[in-house]
Symmetry: C2
Subunit: 283 residues, 2 copies
């Protein structure tokens, strides 16, 4: 690779830049975005070599990585489309995939053969290039969700890119990805937001926070995530998320019912079953 | 203190024993319980000096610490009551306090003046004396909830005991303790159990666990806690927990409603508000 472009140089884009530069995977890394101050910060931490706010400058890039909130993809693809060659590989780091395919279809008519939707399963609750880390993807999974139209060699290049960052690349069907992520990531975020809000609205919120310990800190951690990113995820993966929250609401109601009815045996059985399932995975 | 007795030498009781012996706070530590094998393990890790399964052996102890699941207190107090002197201080590590006062009232008619209900805000999702740690309470809060009848000097002795473990002792009213803990600890546990169960019942649970990363691990961590302990907490703090789950259910419904209606501005506002509240406490 000679020249790649990272669109949106925050935690995800910045960490990719740092990792690829560390691995010497490409010649130059261009950062594209709107906020000059943040782009300058990305240069100063070494995540990108140069930056631009002019869509015309993506011309000549071999690979473009979209790392902005997924709600912005359509507008970004629309701005850069006339500067792309048929050879340019596009990939992304968005947390929802059906919506990314829809955005590409809406701009290009059909998703370009060299557009490889992807999703690194890594992150922090801290956003911004200041928290970017060359090792963020090391030993983490990256899910690629190529569609029927996708070029196999474009998939190979994107796979190589992630392997250069130390990641483990796997492939899922678009719909499967969105359902799995609704369960592993989107539902836990919704739950944490509801938890923080439920507590924040009590009259004794200060006492609660005074005595909140490790359990509460961990359970609410993801509620410190970037609000724009999570707004977009909730909008873009709406159906799969609502399917999971609906399942979740049923489980919560079942639990409340056992507590209400003081059903000790029922509670024990449910808790022991949960412990077994979770320990088997995270022991 | 010459001789103290720890009833139930698991994670909480065992960690107190290790901490007090390390601090040389008392002469001898007796462990009382039912399971000889576990009591032997407690001796071998140094959490207690001797053990007994005979309630008569608590006679002569200056202080008794109850560290079994709260549902067992009434039966334990009933077994040891005839062996107590009026000077014996009783305290405990239970996660609910109104129920502890009720258990004492039920056994003694009224709560003894030298019974100091307490709750160390520390723990792990791993139970058992094998995970006990002399530093478990260091820099952690311990809440004491004395009632009107409680002797001030008994409170002072229990305060000194916890300070010897490196803990920070605070006092709350019984009802306030139970409401605060319902929010900071019991609700997060209920939420985590519902999360694990919601996921476990999908047809693609294996794929979900394959791709579950740090967010899911942290959000579900407390679902690996001891089922007996949490059964008892749910039964003993029923009302305060149901009050919190009801608040929580409303917040969840509000969020689902915003997602359903694709209300981006509403989602952003809610997420940004949560982030602000949480960062202010844990930032």
């Amino acid at each position: 690779m000679d020249k790649i472009c990272i669109v949106g140089v925050g935690l995800i884009g910045g960490s990719l830049g740092l990792a690829l530069k560390k691995a010497n995977w490409c010649g130059r890394v261009l950062g594209f975005g709107r906020n000059v101050e943040r782009l300058q910060e990305a240069v100063s931490v070494g995540a990108i070599d140069k930056f631009s706010t002019d869509p015309g400058d993506v011309a000549g890039c071999d690979l473009i990585f979209l790392a902005t909130p997924v709600g912005s993809y359509e507008s970004i693809l629309d701005q850069i489309r006339e500067h792309l060659s048929p050879e340019t590989i596009i990939t992304d780091g968005g947390s929802t995939k059906a919506s990314v395919v829809r955005a590409a279809e809406s701009v290009f008519g059909e998703i370009p053969a060299r557009f490889v939707p992807g999703h690194p399963i890594a992150g922090k609750e801290k956003s911004g290039v200041a928290h970017a880390d060359a090792n963020l993807y090391r030993d983490h999974k990256v899910i690629l969700t190529p569609v029927e139209l996708t070029d196999a060699d474009a998939v190979q290049v994107v796979t190589d890119m992630w392997k250069a960052c130390g990641a483990v690349v796997e492939t899922l069907d678009v719909g499967q990805h969105d359902r799995v992520l609704a369960a592993t990531s989107h539902l836990p975020h919704v739950i944490a937001y509801a938890l923080v809000n439920a507590v924040a609205e009590t009259t004794y919120v200060q006492k609660i926070f005074d005595f909140a310990a490790g359990g509460f800190r961990d359970s609410s951690r993801v509620a410190s995530s970037d609000p724009t990113m999570w707004r977009d995820i909730c909008l873009e993966n709406r159906e799969a998320i609502l399917e999971m929250t609906s399942r979740y609401r049923e489980e919560l109601a079942r639990l409340e019912c056992l507590i209400e009815g003081a059903d000790g045996d029922g509670l024990f059985e449910l808790f022991a079953g949960c412990k077994k399932v979770r320990d088997a995975r995270f022991g």
